[in-house]
Symmetry: C2
Subunit: 226 residues, 2 copies
């Protein structure tokens, strides 16, 4: 009975504290050392707790990482939900992405997703946790996209759920890219700014042109291959 962790509600605050330390320590270790050098020992060291507690509280290192993934995603998303709610255009969404990119590079939490994504390629437990963590993001992005694109041909001819997933995956890819080539990543992001400006210009083309686009799309088979 007393040799196992109790349920969340029944846990003592001291135990909950070390659990939190380990979760935060896991995230910090992932960003600072990378998945390759993230171990029970390195995590415990940055968390400031005993190494054996990793196994007592989480069983295995991968299970700790899986829990940390959810913890970090929820925490980070909560910090950005308000800002995302205020988004009213594609350009604003990209601006928030820019902001997220800048602040995360300093604090480093999205980089965690990159590391877990890499680790998840070969470890099913991590894969499931990472997919779940990413889903928290894509669901949020999807809500924003649906609101922003309402009434535009984009929402009509493009699967917004898929678009949100694509945007999220692309963002993580760009985040990883920035880690190895900051100048290149900045140039990539700048080109997306220009692309958003172009999209904004198209949005304001007027009903005549939009009707032309719609009929063109219908003829070529909507929602089909290019």
């Amino acid at each position: 009975m007393s040799g196992e962790p109790r349920s969340r509600a029944a846990r003592s605050s001291a135990a909950e504290d070390t659990r939190t330390k380990l979760l935060a320590g896991a995230l910090a270790t992932l960003t600072e050392q990378g998945i390759a050098k993230t171990s029970a020992r390195s995590i415990a060291a940055t968390a400031g707790v005993n190494q054996a507690l990793v196994f007592y509280h989480f069983g295995t290192v991968d299970d700790l990482l899986a829990a940390a993934c959810r913890y970090g995603a929820e925490q980070r998303l909560a910090a950005y939900r308000e800002r995302l709610d205020a988004v009213r255009s594609l350009g604003e969404l990209l601006a928030v992405a820019r902001e997220l990119n800048a602040s995360e590079r300093a604090g480093g939490q999205v980089a965690v997703l990159g590391q877990l994504l890499a680790g998840g390629q070969t470890q099913p437990r991590l894969a499931a946790a990472t997919a779940a963590g990413l889903t928290l993001w894509t669901d949020e992005i999807e809500r924003v996209l649906a609101r922003v694109l309402a009434g535009s041909p984009l929402a009509e001819f493009v699967d917004v759920t898929g678009l949100a997933k694509a945007a999220s995956a692309a963002f993580v890819g760009l985040e990883l890219y920035e880690g190895v080539d900051p100048a290149g990543a900045e140039r990539a992001l700048a080109s997306l700014d220009q692309l958003a400006a172009l999209a904004a210009a198209l949005e304001g083309l007027g009903p005549v042109a939009q009707r032309a686009v719609r009929s063109r799309l219908r003829r070529s088979g909507s929602r089909g291959r290019a």
Copy 2:
């Protein structure tokens, strides 16, 4: 004199053979085990050579990985150059990307870039090599994009070099995403197909609408923020 590897030209074919085995073994290990479990021993095992040869030929594991990155990128790009040269539209480019995605997931070489990207976040030597390997791809994509977008407003208002970098990073992100959520990744890719179809429809809008878009973009400040 005889205790050190000689220059590439002067190397014996036997030595060159083990070097190649190690390079290929490194790529295979990265895809099959991930960066976290890629070690001198695991690489040597899949390569079928002695573990000590990793250090004799490449000095450190990271240096081997860096060399393997270049080796794999050059090899893979050579296999796709012809196909990329034949691309004449955005839709065709996406179709090649789809093809690449499918064949690489089976043979697994782009996944290598994801693993190295993750490792490069914290290891400068890997970062430089990965950036260089990615540049081989972005340069190629840039050439294709420049040809495909010639005459379109896209080439006029968007930095094509940056766009090529963004597309490459996004592709790697999607590739990693596919590793943890195949269904989600498929949906994401499908939405990009729809997006490409929409872009194709816009391309054929005619000179009147395109003039309208151009003047609109100029007024809002070309190449500027959204």
